[in-house]
């Protein structure tokens, strides 16, 4: 089972929504589309589903060109951010509805509905109720169960948990990959949250302004972004950036600090670069002799109970640090922060990654 997009693009009223995109998805995989609102996630899903026809390119399903084929004729299931169920049918009827259309026998339907309901933790007594009598989480479980019984080759989930309470989201997020792993279909899951992508695992395609900026195994995309855009999209809190300069065999980080061009920085040509590092790699104490030191001004602190977010101003750049433990700090004070060079990503001025952080490639 496979879905291949070949140079697929889509414009609406002359505005490009999706630039020419190539993508290959395999059966039994979870594929996350990660990107901010209106980065093209939903547009791309609609092209995959056949709800929209691309302006150029081909959609190939199991080796067969299905470009322009009606969505009804393809095996596609979709779950939306809004809880969409048939309000006049019971939960049981809702889950059974796609199988009724496929003219399955009564026994087949019954066992499939019960199994899907059980997987989605919908208690048997809920099956007789109408969707609107359920809580938001249960309504979405019903919609997910309906997508599951359809046994569609392609299941598209468009921010399915966005309208749910935080804790409920956390629980369903842990369950969804387990449930869908067994089903063997191709799953595509759109989300705006980097943490959700990491928890779902599988593959991730980061999206930005109608383009897929990188596609690969989720941890690889996270740890080895091929460009600054991907790094920015796949970092919450956002990645911090700093202008650096390579000259005389040393990489200069400003304030007279430099490190030799060894390890990950080997082979960098002279010139200007952009250094990026994640908030959790910023330290408040010097942990090694090679650690870089930066003088910053503390703008705001946020305490989550176990961790402290520090918002810093470094010579006009806004940085965020995520520090372990609870720190009570004085706002507006100067503060020295430290960074191990092994956590630094180097991007060329056009944003292309030229040296991924050495800790990431070592792992």
């Amino acid at each position: 089972m496979s879905l291949i997009l070949e140079g697929v693009s889509k414009s609406v009223n002359g505005q490009p929504h999706i630039h020419a995109t190539d993508l290959e998805l395999l059966g039994g995989t979870m594929n996350v589309l990660l990107g901010p609102t209106s980065s093209g996630k939903t547009s791309l899903m609609r092209l995959m589903a056949g709800l929209d026809a691309p302006n150029t390119g081909k959609v190939i399903w199991d080796g067969k060109d299905v470009t322009g084929m009606r969505v009804q004729d393809r095996g596609v299931a979709m779950v939306y951010q809004q809880f969409i169920n048939y309000p006049s049918m019971t939960v049981y009827e809702n889950i059974a509805s796609p199988m009724r259309l496929l003219r399955k026998s009564k026994d087949q339907i019954d066992s499939a509905v019960k199994k899907a309901a059980e997987l989605m933790k919908l208690a048997p007594e809920l099956l007789a109720r109408k969707p609107l009598e359920l809580s938001g989480g249960q309504q979405q479980r019903c919609a997910l169960a309906r997508a599951l019984v359809k046994e569609a080759g392609l299941v598209l989930l468009d921010e399915p948990l966005a309208n749910l309470d935080y804790k409920l989201r956390e629980e369903l997020r842990a369950e969804i990959p387990k449930i869908f792993e067994e089903a063997g279909s191709i799953f595509v899951y759109a989300t705006t949250e980097p943490e959700e992508a990491l928890l779902l695992g599988g593959n991730t395609a980061t999206m930005w302004e109608g383009r897929i900026t990188q596609f690969g195994k989720t941890p690889i995309v996270y740890r080895q972004p091929v460009n600054a855009t991907t790094a920015r999209v796949f970092s919450d809190p956002p990645m911090n950036f700093l202008k650096v300069r390579m000259t005389g065999g040393r990489l200069h980080f400003g304030d007279g600090q430099s490190v030799p061009a060894s390890d990950a920085f080997t082979g960098l040509t002279e010139g200007n670069y952009l250094a990026g590092f994640r908030p959790n790699h910023l330290e408040m104490a010097k942990k090694g002799p090679s650690a870089l030191e930066f003088a910053t001004k503390l703008q705001v602190t946020e305490i989550t109970g176990s961790e402290t977010f520090i918002h810093l101003d470094h010579q006009g750049d806004s940085w965020v640090g995520l520090i372990h433990g609870v720190k009570i700090l004085e706002i507006g004070a100067m503060m020295d922060v430290f960074l191990d060079p092994k956590h630094v990503y180097i991007f060329a001025e056009d944003g292309t990654s030229v040296a991924p952080a050495s800790y990431a490639t070592a792992a």
Binding site: P36, A174, N280, I303, G305, S306, A363
Partner: protein, 359 residues
């Protein structure tokens, strides 16, 4: 700015409530300090919106009083309470410019035009919208509109309290950071009394000086983020705060020892002999995975890489125990035991925390 007092406050949507279950908000007494930022945290239907509506004057409580600076406002309408509110979805006056939107509350109160001009400019600078002041609000993005709502709330200097009703729902994660930071620094700068309703623990914890955790119409704990994290007063708080939430295991406790499914562990301090349903709670952050034969025997089910750390899901006799491990830590399959950091252990009797007894 004002101190807010809730006195024997309760509310029921039924005309004649008799039983406790009839109350959407159960009787509570609280003093909320002037100039602090509070977050009301809980899942939907826990009563947090009811409480907010009582404070804003949209709803009159069926019992008790609410005071602003010791003045009874229980029956006063919204207009007389002198509050500002930012809603879940941006509320802006579409046909007005951004400038007129910001000036609106001041103009309605007949402020001096020169003052309005100056104040609007000041607020626009704070929310970073100076460049768009003369644009129509219609057609701006959701986060720009929400910034306008926020600015309109801040424009009056004399408000008693600023209320926020899940204001970041429609905002992208990246923008959430920016808006939250802005809110936080505005609070730091002006010291408004702020009340922020949310179901998102990160938003609540990072925003507030004090977080009010609500469950089933009741305030189960009010405290600093650190208190909620380290000493959850109720197992619900332990579960609701933190992700994943606290591990809760049934245990037999006597003194400074606990027995969990036949394995004895040391608690580090004495708890006497609590009665009722006794449970031990320990956050994933205080659990360490190791090999050997010390600690509780577990089998590893899954390891989730969340980037900055790993979440290990382990099975202990059919109960899931979550462990948080550092980003670089190696999880090997022969790790079959977990040990708890005694500093992170809390004991619960019938879901409420038992304070440790001095030895």
């Amino acid at each position: 700015m004002a101190k807010i007092t809730l006195e024997n406050l309760a509310h029921s949507y039924l005309p004649k409530p008799t039983r406790e279950e009839d109350y959407a908000l159960k009787s509570m007494d609280h003093d909320w300090v002037d100039g602090e930022a509070y977050a009301l945290l809980g899942s939907s239907g826990c009563g947090k919106s009811t409480l907010l509506n009582i404070i804003s004057g949209l709803l009159h409580p069926s019992q008790g009083r609410i005071l602003f600076n010791d003045k009874d406002v229980t029956m006063a309408p919204t207009t007389q309470r002198n509050i500002a509110q930012v809603f879940q979805f941006p509320v802006v006056y579409d046909t007005m410019t951004v400038r007129d939107n910001l000036a609106f509350p001041l103009r309605n109160r007949g402020s001096d035009p020169a003052y309005i001009q100056e104040r609007v400019q000041q607020i626009a600078a704070m929310i970073g919208m100076e460049a768009t002041l003369d644009r129509k609000a219609r057609g701006l993005t959701a986060d720009a509109k929400q910034k306008i709502s926020l600015g309109r709330g801040m424009v009056r200097e004399d408000v008693n309290a600023l209320l926020f009703d899940e204001p970041l729902t429609v905002i992208d994660p990246h923008m959430k950071w920016e808006l939250r930071t802005q809110l936080k620094s505005l609070h730091h700068e002006f010291g408004h009394t702020m009340i922020y309703v949310t179901h998102d623990q990160t938003e609540a914890l990072t925003f507030a000086d004090k977080v009010v955790v609500m469950f089933d119409g009741r305030v189960v704990q009010m405290g600093t983020p650190q208190q909620l994290f380290e000493t959850p007063e109720h197992t619900f708080v332990g579960y609701f705060i933190g992700s994943p939430g606290m591990n809760v295991l049934e245990a037999k406790v006597s003194g400074d020892k606990a027995v969990i499914a036949g394995t004895e562990i040391s608690l580090g301090q004495g708890f006497g002999t609590p009665t009722g349903k006794v449970e031990l709670g320990v956050r994933p952050e205080f659990v360490t995975l190791q090999s050997g034969d010390e600690g509780l025997p577990v089998t590893i089910k899954r390891v989730e890489d969340v980037g900055r750390h790993k979440i290990v899901r382990a099975d202990f006799q059919g109960i899931e125990i979550n462990i948080i491990a550092a980003e670089g830590e190696n999880i090997s399959p022969d790790m079959n035991r977990v040990v708890f950091d005694t500093a992170g252990i809390n004991i619960y009797s019938d879901s409420w925390r038992v304070a440790p007894k001095a030895a």
